[in-house]
């Protein structure tokens, strides 16, 4: 019988990031980081050629359909992505149903690793309660009359609910609470309402390009120096887009390219990114790169494309960073990682270098356990594999 040579079938990884809409700009950074991680693996996994198949997230429903297509038609062994929480939730349901390991790299809504959790879906971004609690000490000092301006989707509402709960705990007052449709380009009417209400602080829950538009108009109405603005989980690209003369506020972010405490691997990534794209790496590029790196290393460690073996390898993946053991909690698949509370520099030197790192939280494993919560506190009821 003659021997027939066959090309080795590549290992395919699905990537779900929006190519259109208000999150498309952040998505491009997430995508760049993901592809860079694959390049750094030599485009190989398990000693075989590997490729990333990038599909769109035009809406939550279409994101779920595209996840299904990646699984059924492209036969991907794992998926990365989830640029917006509502997209991630739709994709998570498909990943759980079809038992495909999925690491969400941007969605931060609590439900992802809470009520909607499943054993095949993991999450990189710190959930809203962790980020909100990290901000509280800074916000409490500013004042206790807060105005909420949030996008009317899962993540925005999560922000509002968590900050309202924190505000209640410190005996504060809700001065206003506006839910803004995603994709809103004009905020003048909202700004006039805030101006009239005269709160001590505005808590934002706006997404990506919407945040940039709001901050520009906030300055346009002369509000920048008058009422402080804050938001958690912002992306560097959104603030870079505002311009250094218009930017103000306190924010949380997962990573900052100039954080002196970045690990050697992070610094190497930042250098590789800057060399390739001739611009500093945004936090979103790092989030794409880091989640892809975790997934790729776990697939190699599993030494198999079997989904249960990859999930087990993800559970066993860990590294030391910033004084804490970075790993996934087994009861909700949430990555335990530090985040940064950042303020805007008084004198911004260039179009990229905006932040002063005010604090890195949590700073040790004990604090991390408190910040991310225990199994008993989790809303996730994980089913067995």
């Amino acid at each position: 019988m003659p021997h027939v040579a066959r090309a080795v079938e590549p290992i395919r990884i699905g990537l779900l990031e929006a190519k259109q809409g208000p999150i498309a700009e952040q998505s491009q950074y997430l995508q760049r980081g993901t592809f860079l991680a694959m390049e750094q693996m030599g485009n190989e996994l398990l000693g075989r050629p590997a490729e990333i198949i990038w599909d769109d997230e035009p809406s939550a429903q279409a994101a779920g359909q595209n996840a299904l297509q990646l699984i059924q038609q492209n036969k991907v062994v794992a998926m990365l992505g989830g640029a917006l929480s509502n997209f991630a939730l739709a994709e998570e349901a498909i990943a759980g149903q079809y038992k495909v390991p999925f690491l969400i790299n941007n969605g931060a809504a609590e439900e992802i690793t809470g009520t909607k959790c499943n054993p095949y879906t993991f999450r990189l971004q710190s959930p809203v309660p962790v980020q909100a609690a990290a901000m509280l000490p800074y916000l409490e000092n500013i004042g206790k009359r807060w105005y909420f301006l949030s996008a009317s989707y899962a993540y925005g509402q999560d922000i509002v609910n968590n900050f309202k709960s924190l505000l209640k705990g410190i005996g504060g007052t809700i001065v206003g609470d506006d839910q803004v449709p995603v994709g809103t380009s004009d905020y003048s009417a909202y700004i006039l309402k805030i101006r009239e209400a005269q709160p001590d602080l505005v808590i934002g829950g706006l997404t990506s390009g919407d945040l940039s538009s709001f901050l520009k108009q906030w300055k346009d109405f002369g509000m920048s120096g008058k009422i402080p603005f804050t938001e958690i989980g912002v992306g560097d690209p959104d603030l870079w887009a505002v311009g250094k003369d218009n930017i103000a506020g306190i924010y949380t972010t997962m990573w900052w390219y100039k954080d002196p405490n970045n690990s050697p691997a992070d610094k190497a990534f930042a250098a590789a990114y800057e060399k390739k794209y001739n611009a500093p790496a945004a936090d979103k590029a790092w989030m794409g790169w880091y989640s892809a790196r975790i997934m790729f290393e776990s697939i190699n460690k599993a030494n198999s494309t079997n989904p249960d073996a990859i999930v087990e390898a993800l559970y066993n993946w860990s590294e030391l960073d910033g004084g804490i053991n970075v790993h996934f909690d087994r009861w909700d698949n949430q990555l335990i990682h530090r985040l940064l509370v950042v303020g805007i520099k008084k004198h911004i030197p260039n179009q990229w270098d905006y932040f002063d790192v005010l604090q890195s939280v949590p700073s040790n494993d004990a604090e991390a356990a408190v910040a991310f919560g225990t199994q008993a506190q989790s809303a996730c009821h994980m089913t067995p594999l």
């Binding site: 950074y29 803004v180 994709g183 909202y190 218009n246």
Partner: protein, 289 residues
């Protein structure tokens, strides 16, 4: 409460004038060429991008150059692509221009990158003006005045110049205009360029207010279509009245039902179409019916 309502009415008018400018180009292109130009948002975005880039090179003189450049690109687009769609079903023009908008957005993303471009209003236009219950950002007031001047100039151009008369006649009966020995293809190229120039002016004026990203045209195109539909396809006055109405309705919706502020303009459109299916100022056009 009444003070807040008056405040929002004033703000809605200011917002409406920007919408008018975005929608007017779309309305002119549809009214005179019969093309449903889904790529209108791209010319809006190009207006913002070229303005920012040329401002960096030439200062404020770069803004009119940027707008003219978008007009030239618009005319080239008409010659290469749009011209082939005149005798086709309007649905074909919608699909082709939508595909063109995706391509153009990808080109913008490649040339300028995914990061939004910062751009500030002139220092002299920073701050707000307060007059009784009305509060308006100085820059928005300047935009409003500029748009009124542009609308008046455009009206005079269409009413009193030979080119304007040819445009209006060509929109109703292109065959007759051709029989009279007028080179209609050149007129149509100029008309498409004019529509693109209006979109570019709107993009340039919006750049200090809106997030300048490759997808910024998407945020402009839907209100523009709604305004053109409410005002009546191809109606100059209709686009102005509908733009102001949409701005007004959106501002008041933010005051009372903020989560429905985007939906409010669609509700307005539905109500208008129920009463006047051709829009507020829409007429019966033989070419399209």
């Amino acid at each position: 409460m009444w003070d807040m309502m008056l405040l929002q009415i004033g703000n809605g008018m200011a917002l409406g004038f920007l919408y008018v400018l975005i929608a007017l180009g779309l309305s002119i292109i549809f009214g005179l060429l019969g093309i449903v130009n889904f790529a209108h948002g791209v010319f809006f975005a190009l207006g913002a991008y070229f303005s920012i880039t040329l401002f960096g090179v030439m200062g404020w003189w770069g803004i009119p150059v940027a707008i003219a450049l978008v007009g030239v690109i618009g005319m080239l687009t008409e010659v290469v692509l749009i011209r082939r769609l005149y005798d086709k079903d309007p649905l074909i023009s919608l699909i082709v221009t939508f595909a063109f908008s995706l391509l153009a957005e990808a080109i913008i993303r490649t040339l300028w990158g995914p990061v939004g471009q910062p751009f500030d209003a002139p220092d002299a236009l920073n701050g707000v003006l307060i007059w009784g219950p009305f509060v308006i950002a100085t820059y928005r007031l300047a935009v409003m005045i500029l748009v009124i001047v542009i609308l008046a100039a455009l009206w005079a151009f269409l009413q009193f110049t030979p080119f304007g008369r040819i445009l209006r006649a060509g929109s109703r009966d292109p065959g007759m205009v051709g029989v009279l020995g007028i080179n209609l293809p050149h007129v149509l190229t100029g008309t498409f360029g004019l529509g693109c120039v209006l979109a570019a002016i709107a993009g340039s004026l919006a750049a200090p207010l809106w997030s300048v990203t490759p997808s910024m045209g998407e945020a402009a195109i839907m209100p523009a279509f709604v305004i053109v539909t409410i005002g009546g396809l191809g109606s100059y006055v209709g686009a102005i009245v509908a733009g102001l109405l949409v701005g007004l309705v959106q501002s008041l919706a933010v005051q009372f039902v903020p989560e429905a502020s985007t939906a409010a303009m669609y509700v307005l459109m539905a109500l208008v179409l129920l009463v006047r299916p051709r829009g507020l100022f829409g007429e019966r056009w033989e070419r399209f019916e």
